[in-house]
Subunit: 229 residues, 2 copies
Amino acid sequence: LNRIKASGLKLRFCTNETQATREKFVKKLQGMGFDISVDEVTAPAPAACRILKERSLRPHLLVHNDLIPEFAEIDKANPNCVVIGDAAENFTYANLNEAFRVLIGMEKPVLISLGRGRYYKETDGLKLDVGAYMKALEYACDVQAEVVGKPAKMFFESALAEMEVPPQQAIMIGDDIVNDVGGAQRCGMRALQVRTGKYRPCDENHPHVKPDAYVNNLAEAVDIILQQL
Amino acid sequence: LNRIKASGLKLRFCTNETQATREKFVKKLQGMGFDISVDEVTAPAPAACRILKERSLRPHLLVHNDLIPEFAEIDKANPNCVVIGDAAENFTYANLNEAFRVLIGMEKPVLISLGRGRYYKETDGLKLDVGAYMKALEYACDVQAEVVGKPAKMFFESALAEMEVPPQQAIMIGDDIVNDVGGAQRCGMRALQVRTGKYRPCDENHPHVKPDAYVNNLAEAVDIILQQL
């Protein structure tokens, strides 16, 4: 990471985290020794805010309490769309009905989802993720959600816009064959898969996605990138 | 109704009601003057019980409290399937995660849904119906629910089995072009659509379903049926 920064290359961290603000996320990584600041992080909530502003959308929010500060500057009066994130304990019967009523009351319902995950594991067991509740609202209102977050094209486009870099001049490094590699490539970027973290050997036989190269770790990815400058 | 009963024809009432037991449903209709008893009613919950028994399934229930008595005789220990109904206030975050964990823990998840409704209206506003929560669990577990209730084939088959009548000798009378008429016909029955209740003139141009005949009301349907005896 320090070598990339020293080289003068522009850098963004792309995460699908929606249970907390970027501030919290960055503090965690700083605690682990990473040189990272909030304005280097692309996450679904700020990407959604960008879209909301561009399209003059005023959201009804169904998100985690800890994420609400990300939407502080957004006009939320008289909503004309619904934004759903991993709301966890906020996924109550009343809150779901409320979000549904806002949606069904629109002439053309607009549902923006901060991810499409099915479920995830916490210390007290498996939990339904935002994707499941997104499907419930999609079915009830006969709409298709617009998904922000990896692997959505507009998520990578947000990151590129923030760096002011065209996709041909950017490279993605990630461990997730579909969300990281596939998503970035569909956006016109090149992508390296690191053989760490989520990586599994069967990824190398993926039916649709083929990385531009494999690397054994982040350091090796940096070597390759700096060699080509 | 009295004329059909006097003729000696067998009769069943088919409802998609899943927020209460048949007892409660029957009391309501008796109060309106109908000659009806509990054992003449086919509803999703008893139809599900029939399936559970046939396939030795032990359900984890995510249903309305008032519906639980319908499952009194069913073994629910160590569940090997999930039954979901319109649970209303019971659709809490905790209950949905629990039903999900039971499903995802199975080698081959079995999800039985007492309907596929999107939403319905109550005095305090629109509410998400069982179909929306069914979709959430389907997506999270990558399964397809088996739907009991109209228009599912096995729902009509349950009603026929209870009467011990083959489909060719049965006729459905209903106001819902898809749930009543279409469902019964797909099961090999003939079906009349009454031009009352849910009926709308545009039903007569339905792209897929064509009733065997239209009648202006229930009395006219009875006339036709009794003439053909």
